[in-house]
């Protein structure tokens, strides 16, 4: 018996992953349930586990870009079996699974670049590559000095801020070992993954948008109390994760997975994604079952996510499986941001910066009070404006009620 080692689908974004390294040598005995290779998606590294033990035969050598579903190796029950396979393989002269003997596999991004810059298939074949990546096409573009490419990419570069461009250049250099031609900006792999998602979101989801003002005084008080009494450092994102998750039972559609026909699959729990960007790229890791997760654990989980973003240590499992997302735009002065909804989610929330406003106290004095704007983009195929207003009002009511807000955290203190 032979087991194929295939490239699994690890996320909903990428069409190919990089085989970074094999963890066993050719012909080595692999234990059952052992990680046999390391894959890199656009956002994270992930070990590829082989659930059956045996003798490894590697078809694709690392590093290589591999499309989803590609067979990159086999596991045989015995060395004899592997030997028989290799003999037969040699006699036949070629395996259909061996990409080197067929037309090169061209990744989606490489194909996009070929189309955009007029690179022909014949030129790509001259590379002699089994798998043609965007970096390979970029090299051909650079060689041909395509003016159209430079103009096109220059437009993109003008749109991106310098920090993102620098980060992208870093990604690109890491991917291709070469820099983009002068005057040209070619997005990093991670940014291309973002592009894929937001393009699909924009094209497929008829989104509507509502915003609500939330007074923040009680949240600020609770934040200080948690820091003082429990030693927990949090911000409004942590409290918002808890507030939003607490509404899962009452507003199941906001946590649903929407199909293309407009029907929706309800989720069993609130798995809340939160945007994290510490200057190393945009990530959306997920706080699992946030309604039942104690606040200290939510706080440590989000801090762990920030550290992972900083160190580039995310695993694919951190980034998948969310059913609602909170997009953080709480940099000082940001009043509001309108998000795109990540398919197949039904909505996305945005948190703006905390601001001060003047108000008239009961005593008649003019005082300052803190507030933030909370935005909600929702898929109008499944959610109407009235429901959106009720959902936002539910969050506001909880956030502005000391007893409800504290109750969410007090409840956490009970034994699990």
């Amino acid at each position: 018996l032979v087991l194929d080692i295939r490239i699994p689908k690890l996320n909903t974004v990428d069409v190919s992953y990089t085989l970074v390294e094999w963890l066993f040598s050719e012909g080595e005995v692999v234990p059952a349930d052992a990680p046999v290779a390391v894959l890199e998606t656009s956002k994270a590294a992930q070990e590829l586990v082989c659930d059956r033990g045996g003798v490894l035969h590697r078809i694709v050598e690392a590093p290589a870009e591999c499309p989803l579903g590609a067979v990159i190796g086999h596991v045989f029950e015995s060395e004899d079996e592997r030997g028989r396979f290799l003999s037969a393989h040699t006699e036949k002269g070629a395996s259909q699974e061996s990409p080197g003997e067929a037309e090169p596999v061209v990744t989606k991004y490489a194909l996009d670049l070929m189309t955009r810059h007029g690179i022909t298939a014949d030129r790509v074949r001259t590379l002699g590559k089994k798998i043609v990546k965007s970096a390979d096409v970029e090299r051909l573009v650079a060689e041909s000095g395509s003016r159209a490419a430079a103009a096109d990419a220059g437009h993109l570069a003008a749109e991106s801020d310098s920090r993102a461009a620098a980060a992208d250049a870093g990604h690109l250099a890491a991917e291709s070992g070469s820099r983009a031609p002068a005057g040209e900006h070619i997005p990093s792999r991670a940014q291309r993954a973002v592009a894929t998602v937001v393009t699909r979101a924009h094209q497929t989801i008829p989104a509507a948008f509502s915003v609500i003002k939330v007074h923040a005084a009680d949240g600020l008080t609770l934040r200080r109390a948690l820091a003082e009494q429990d030693g927990i450092t949090i911000g409004f994102p942590e409290l918002l994760v808890k507030c939003v998750a607490s509404l899962h039972a009452a507003f199941p559609l906001f946590f649903a997975s929407v199909r293309t026909d407009g029907s929706a699959a309800l989720s069993a729990q609130a798995d809340v994604g939160v945007t994290v960007d510490v200057g190393t790229g945009l990530y959306i890791p997920v706080v699992r079952d946030a309604a039942r997760t104690p606040m200290p654990h939510i706080a440590s989980t989000l801090m762990e996510f920030r550290v992972k973003a900083l160190r580039g240590q995310f695993e694919e499992t951190d980034l998948t499986g969310g059913n609602i997302t909170i997009s953080l735009h709480d940099d000082a002065g940001i009043v509001l941001a309108q998000p795109l909804i990540l398919p197949p989610h039904a909505c996305m929330l945005t948190l703006g910066a905390t601001q001060d406003e003047l108000c008239l106290a009961d005593s008649g004095e003019v005082r300052t009070r803190a507030y933030f704007n909370l935005g909600l983009a929702y898929d109008h195929r499944v959610i109407n404006g009235r429901d959106a207003a009720l959902f936002l009002t539910g969050i506001k009511r909880t956030f502005e009620s000391p007893s409800l807000l504290r109750g969410l955290c007090e409840h956490d203190r009970e034994p699990q």
Binding site: E228, T233, I234, G235, S300, M303, V307, L310
Partner: protein, 85 residues
């Protein structure tokens, strides 16, 4: 760090913390932390780490990042790395 590293580094730490949290440097005392400095949120916590790593050329472990509860902890952590005296 050159000259009088102890004093220079101590002043810089306070300046960096103040700049990241948007505070007067005078408010940045060793006992100050998230409970007393309103701007010290979880997000600012990681921004502090990034700023200090950049300024001192050091790296904080995840355990160190989680263990910081006040300015004094930041100072002790940096002292342990030999960049603050």
């Amino acid at each position: 760090m050159t000259g009088e590293p102890g004093q220079q580094a101590a002043a810089r730490l306070e300046d960096i913390v103040a700049a990241v949290l948007g505070l007067d440097p005078a408010a940045v005392v060793d006992v100050a932390g998230p409970a007393t400095l309103g701007g010290w949120t979880s997000r600012k916590h990681i921004e502090l780490v990034v700023a200090l790593e950049d300024a001192y050329g050091v790296s904080f472990s995840a355990r160190e990042i989680f263990g910081i509860r006040c300015v004094g902890d930041l100072r002790e952590t940096l002292r342990g790395k030999g960049v603050v005296h």
